[in-house]
Subunit: 478 residues, 2 copies
């Protein structure tokens, strides 16, 4: 790992220059310096043999006289802690272990970073990020940062990035909004926190899809709300089963997570009618619909609504990289003042470092180019995976998906009854595959059964190998 520190000896100067001297104390400067130097040397056995700064340098760094420093050096030479070499300076003595018992800091090896296993879902192929371009945007933004970057931070996030997001939404998601309605967050979790703590209030009954993103339950509990799961059917979220007591609904209309179903227009209209009639808020989580391979996408639900009773959530984790930790929310104009008030009270959490770089990356057109390139790559990978899974067509109902980054495969119809999706996932994991189980996304009884296969982040060769392994896993299980 190239970033691991390797200069322990040069740390001596850092530690020495960090000493503070106090002329107001009864203890003499000489005693203070001797004590500090002793502590530093005793604490670090790896300083043995390290060269100390000249008495002139240390005196200047600590704003004390050179005589004081020289007196301390002389004292510690006589005590055996330091040695002097003719004409070459003062060094930490090589055998000081008998003088004190240094307590070494326990240092485990750096943890190995785990690689992603094939079929991990929700992951873009980050190896295809235009690294040079992205690094250049970062470097340009921070080499001589604009005064605005160093001023009082905008609680909604860096304005030019919000403007770029507004342009992106108009072009890709048929959602017209003012950059003033866009709030940069550190991801969906923060967005939900702002929504419930800042806008809607807590102790709400929140209708969610079943199945859904599993962390949503934790987030709703953590933010002090009650989740009310509504089972989806073949057309997605069952709007007619929405209870009137719900204060909000969290939905993935463009592409239901994880099944991939797109909510048809009549249901969208019914959902917005429900919100208008009951005064509820619909929160649209639009997590990967930019990757559409066939067909005109339906406009976003929030676009259809004109952002009246809807809040739109987006993220760059799947479009660029999860390393960014940059997401955003778009709020109705009438909620803007409340949003701002909450953000000013609690402060921003998204780092400002990536924001100007992401803004120029988007405005330069490189972002859209990257999305189009990824769309072609992911489309090819999906086709490839579908081909590699044909040997399983008697067991699984594998169908092409018009968008997204994973395939969701229903299980119940053709597999033996006693084999659950969890069984398949566990077995596959033993063979190095990271499949998702649809039942783990459900809480209602009669959990749906299915497999989630992410393909976006993996090369075609990896997908072939992984599909072959999956074939033998399933053959052995059935």
């Amino acid at each position: 790992m190239s970033n691991v520190k390797t200069f322990s000896k040069s740390n001596l100067n850092r530690d020495l220059f960090a000493i503070s001297m106090d002329t107001s104390l009864k203890t003499s400067l000489q005693t203070q310096l001797r004590g500090a130097l002793h502590d530093i040397i005793s604490a670090s056995p790896d300083l043995v043999g390290a060269r100390l700064p000249s008495s002139r340098t240390l005196a200047s760094e600590l704003s004390i006289s050179r005589t004081t420093v020289q007196a301390v050096y002389d004292q510690m030479i006589s005590e055996g802690y330091l040695v002097t070499r003719q004409g070459s300076g003062t060094y930490v003595a090589s055998d000081i272990t008998h003088l004190s018992q240094p307590q070494p800091i326990f240092r485990p090896a750096a943890p190995r970073t785990e690689p992603w296993l094939p079929f991990q879902a929700g992951l873009p192929d980050q190896s295809l990020l235009p690294g040079r371009q992205w690094a250049r945007h970062l470097e340009r933004a921070w080499r001589a940062p604009a005064p605005e970057l160093l001023g009082r931070p905008d609680p909604q996030g860096w304005y030019p990035l919000r403007e770029a997001i507004s342009d992106h939404l108009a072009a890709w998601r048929h959602l017209k909004c003012d950059p003033g309605q866009v709030v940069i967050t550190s991801g969906a979790r923060e967005a939900f926190e702002v929504i419930f703590h800042g806008l809607l209030g807590t102790e709400k009954t929140v209708a969610i899809e079943d199945p859904c993103w599993p962390k949503l339950h934790t987030i709703l509990t953590d933010t002090g709300n009650r989740a009310l799961p509504v089972r989806i059917d073949k057309e997605g979220f069952a709007v007619d089963r929405l209870p009137n007591e719900a204060h909000a609904a969290i939905v993935t209309p463009s592409r239901h997570y994880p099944t991939g179903v797109s909510l048809p227009l009549p249901r969208r209209i019914a959902l917005l009618d429900w919100a208008r009639q009951t005064g509820a808020t619909v929160i649209e989580d639009d997590y990967d619909s930019e990757f559409r391979y066939r067909g005109q996408p339906l406009p976003s639900l929030s676009g259809l609504d004109g952002l009246n009773n809807t809040i739109y959530l987006g993220s760059f984790s799947k479009l660029v990289s999860p390393a960014l930790r940059i997401g955003y929310m778009v709020v109705p104009k009438r909620l803007l003042q409340k949003t701002l008030g909450y953000l000013e009270r609690t402060g921003p959490r998204a780092s400002l470092i990536p924001q100007p770089a992401l803004g120029t990356f988007m405005n330069s057109g490189e972002f859209a180019m990257h999305l189009r390139r990824m769309r072609r790559v992911y489309a090819r990978r999906q086709t490839h995976l579908l081909g590699a899974l044909t040997p399983l067509s008697d067991l699984l109902d594998v169908k092409a998906d018009s968008s997204g980054m994973h395939l969701c495969i229903g299980l119940r119809e053709r597999l033996p009854d006693q084999v659950s999706d969890l069984d398949v996932c566990k077995l596959a994991h033993k063979h190095g595959l990271q499949l998702g189980a649809v039942s783990k996304h459900c809480v209602l009884p009669n959990k749906m059964q299915g497999l989630v296969l992410g393909y976006a982040a993996f090369e075609e060769k990896t997908l072939s190998d992984a599909a072959n392994r999956l074939v033998s896993v399933l053959r052995s299980a059935c």
Copy 2:
């Protein structure tokens, strides 16, 4: 603002290339493309006169035949939406307003970033950041990112940065910890959320200092706890007033916020005894003690405790820049597994983008050099401010502070009774000064009265001018 988008016409290509075509629909590709192109042109009046891509380019981008594109271009030329110029291509017609009523998006001017007003506290001088070095660290980390940066993210944060923090704490804060005990957060708010939701549990009674950082009350309420303020005295946190029912105490022992009092050793020992006896946890918020100008700093409370019943909180907001949004917590080894479990359940929020750059910035020694430089600069600025405030010595008890980035000036003794610190702050704000009122940091009755004057971020000339203005404000009020 240099990052604001200026290429509206080149957005046409971006929008066009984002169109998806669906061969499985009943609608012909020609109709689909015509509809999409019509929508794009109608929505953006500023596209008038923009040049369209050649039919060959657009056909290739959309994976459809060139004939289809040419047919749509021809149709829309005949409808009046497009015009063709001999040998030079196809353009959006200049008068399409009669053809459709485009709805322009309301776009307010970009908000002006507010500058920081003199005496704003808690702010480093970011104009003195080594921008070139910092930008180079960012560029190097992300130009060809290490595979570890793109793998499954470590829920505790980037390991080499945690190692650098562990080294820094050993050298500057006499706190020895394993890098495995360090957790990177997006700031104090996230740290408290992890502590209460993940480690200690909610519905706790938490002793806090009065006065204290005002946001602490909100954070404790938001995380589902009860704050129990304990009034400080001249020696800081009054440990003997700590009620036994408290489950935790949040303290600033190195430098009480905002008064600047350092907790004496006997009280530190008593506080740790209390924690040991009652099973409570002490949370040490060590926010700016690296900037010490005189005297050996007391070791951190957590260092004294050996991190048994203490959790240590640090941040780079004041040491480097608030733009980073990078803080950290150091947890006792016995709480590590619980911490990890919570982080894995809820996911990281701190952006990974700045972390490797901050790690190499620290390991290269540039960070320590920056801290030493800032320490000299801030010490000079404090001395300068003290001098500029001498004309007020009959009204205010202005004393030098051995550390920190602001002065806290008690008010009650010499000012007329009817003048409160809030009055002074309001009046000063009218004269462009951002003073803090100590009473706004209190909730207990008989609120303390005082002024908080940040000096770190302001040049000496600015401080002189601001001090002069403060002199006339106070003279006019008394």
